[in-house]
Amino acid sequence: MKKSIITIAMASCLALPALAQQQITVVNFGGANANAQKKAYYEPYEKTGTKIVAVEYNGEQAKIKAMVETKKVTWDVVEVEAPDVQRGCDEGLFEKIDFSKIGPKADFLPAAVKECGVGVFVWSTVMAWNADKVKTAPTSWADFWDVKKIPGKRGMRKGARYNLEFALMADGVKPADVYKVLATKDGADRAFRKLTELKPNIQWWEAGAQPAQFLVAGDVALSTVYNGRIDAANREGRNLKIYWPGGIYDLDYWVIPKGAPNKDASMKFIAFASQPATQAVYAQNIAYGPVNNQALAKLDKKVLDDLPTSPANAKESIQMNVGFWADQGEALEKRFAAWATQ
């Protein structure tokens, strides 16, 4: 009797994968980025027999927190922004990553290897303009503030992050020193003062797709923008240009929420998406840099030229200081809200 139960149990275990095809839920930020992920990661991975359900979200960590706290986790793999990786890891929202299951650490950008996260791609917030409408190309961040030299509105992300850094650069701070200056009370005051100068000319954007639309429509002359959105617009025949120096690059990460239902399958998916071959396909579909250095060898020059990780583009750019924003973010964003009312 006992033996037969074991046999049945074993048989059902063997039969299960065949009967119910395994499926994992992968959460991304939508848009052009999601399409590139679909081509590079989801569709090839589904050929290995695991179905992928793609879900879009807007980066709300509250959703993950609510799932983990109520122990009803329905998401398997989630793409999160850099400041949320460490914070979520500290607060016990994510599973720890066993990097031996992902790949040789030496192949990855150092920033891509985290206690609870694996880098997905490198993206950058840069200055861009529409070469069909703006004849004078900007040559520094001071030009972003100079509405006499380049007349027209300026598009900026609604919030403190990035804008304070750019304001300091426009005020003459070297990109490498930006976070050192911003960490002091005087530095923060200086950044807000500089931002006040430009205030009447700023057109704020909320969603990542907006600045490229502003530039195409001619609503703004210059805008801060995520570099992939410029690439996506140019693929549709636009003539948008990027000014790379002073750009602030950053990584997005894969994380597994604590208590996710298919942890092993999720790790396998992340490992698959971190291979040089799949990362190269991703970079060909959207101009975000691979985190696996081996992928660079598989890309031709034309693709490389548009990536934030290419040596020429990365030369004068800075990495967003995640620790700084984790500490100062809440206070600075509130100060930004107070500043906006003045």
């Binding site: 890891c89 607060e91 704020w204 639309q213 809440e330 107070a338």
Partner: protein, 417 residues
């Protein structure tokens, strides 16, 4: 006389039993009514009242520091916040951190303290990762200061001492731009952190403007619709309702297309020579108000229309035939009869506007955001739910007060009409 008295006494006893029977029947009726509304009441309790109670509780709950640092809190009792803390407090802190069962507790503590003092997150997590730190209290103090010299600064210790209670008014105070100083006295926030008072006023101001525009636009339309024959009115009503059934995001996107500087409105105005350069209609207050008025207009038209349909057209004719001028007949006879519609529509539009989030977020600038935007921000981005709940509580209270005021004025208006 005597017969009447005895009859009265008889009636008295009969009346008592009748009253009893009546009150019993009444009670039964009430119970039946109660039983019939029971499902709705349970539904309301579960989906509205309990969540609101939970929200209000979260706005004053403050468990992180007490749960994580009981010994430190104890050791800081009687400490003068203007002086450096004693080495015993450093030792208590290290012992408390060592007793945390899960790194998640350290993370929660770090988040809580960081929302009080920017920088506390890295300070606390740094000490937690450096564990174990051993030795005499003086040695521990020296080690922590060596690890991060910010441990010698008072604000972090003041934040711990301030949060020595399981309940706090800090979130609620912060949501009206107040705070407790290091000595516990309530004071105003420093100027660069003072935002929510203005934002709350802005929320009410935008809602008021939207309500006003809705009324001005909806009143003539509803009046015209009510005066049409039913068939035509129904057809036109569908035109009012179609946008009402369309997704808000779609309508917001449509407004972006219409209002942008190369958009239909600006091109049209420039084409007929009214303006020389495009008007800034988007990503400012104008865009927010235009889109919100469009989205909320049906909520004004519908109550107005339903009230106006029941105002007989003969009243105005009667007034005019009695010698009133047509315009004065309209304002003195017709309009007062539509007050219930006006007040219902205005209340509906105003209360819906107060909670608007998506439209201002996508169409407004940095100084056009309403309170809900910041509630969403604290919920989703900062993950500071105490602050989000406190702002929610402020919005709820302000709305309730306004509703109370409105009920008073509304009643007066109704009795006047």
């Amino acid at each position: 006389m005597s017969s009447i008295t005895s009859q009265g006494a008889l009636q008295g006893s009969g009346a008592t039993s009748l009253r009893l029977a009546l009150s019993r029947a009444d009670a039964r009726r009430k119970w039946r009514a109660f039983a019939l509304t029971m499902p709705l009441l349970v539904f309301l309790l579960l989906t509205l009242l309990i969540p609101i109670a939970a929200l209000l509780q979260r706005a004053v709950e403050n468990p992180e520091v007490v749960a994580a640092l009981p010994r430190t809190v104890q050791s800081l009792k009687g400490w003068n916040p203007e002086t450096a803390p004693a080495p015993a407090s450093y030792a208590a802190l290290v012992e408390d951190l060592g007793h945390l069962s899960d790194s998640a507790d350290a993370g929660a503590l770090a988040r809580r303290l960081n929302s009080e003092v920017a920088g506390a997150r890295s300070l606390v997590m740094g000490a937690y990762r450096a564990l174990p730190v051993t030795g005499s209290p003086e040695e521990i103090q020296a080690k922590l200061l060596q690890l991060d010299q910010r441990w010698g600064e008072q604000p972090f210790w003041q934040a711990i001492a301030k949060n020595s209670s399981r309940w706090t008014a800090d979130y609620l105070l912060a949501s009206v731009d107040l705070r407790r100083g290091s000595q516990g006295a309530v004071e105003r926030m420093p100027e660069d952190q003072r935002a929510f008072g203005t934002i709350l006023l802005r929320t009410f101001y935008i809602s008021f403007v939207v309500t006003l525009f809705c009324l001005v636009l909806a009143y003539p339309l509803a009046w015209w619709l009510a005066s049409l024959p039913a068939r035509k009115a129904n057809l036109l009503m569908i035109l009012v309702l179609v946008p009402f059934w369309t997704s808000i995001l779609v309508r917001v996107a449509a407004w972006i297309v219409l209002l942008q500087s190369e958009g239909l409105v600006n091109r049209g105005l420039m084409g007929i020579g009214l303006i020389d350069s495009p008007l800034p209609l988007l990503f400012n207050r104008a865009g927010v108000v235009i889109a919100m008025v469009h989205i909320l207009l049906p909520f004004m038209i519908l109550p107005l229309y339903s009230v106006m349909k029941n105002v007989p057209a003969t009243y105005i004719r009667a007034a005019v035939s009695l010698g009133s001028a047509p315009l004065s007949a309209f304002f003195r006879v017709y309009v007062p009869q539509t007050y219930p519609g006006i007040s219902a529509g205005a209340l509906l539009v105003f209360i819906l506007s107060i909670g608007y989030y998506v439209t201002p977020a996508l169409l407004g600038g940095a100084d056009d955001q309403m309170l809900s935007y910041y509630i969403a921000r604290y919920t989703n981005v900062e993950v500071n739910w105490g602050m989000a709940c406190a702002l929610g509580a402020v919005l709820l209270t302000a709305t309730m007060i306004l509703y109370g005021v409105y009920r008073r004025i509304g009643k007066a208006e109704l009795s006047l009409g």
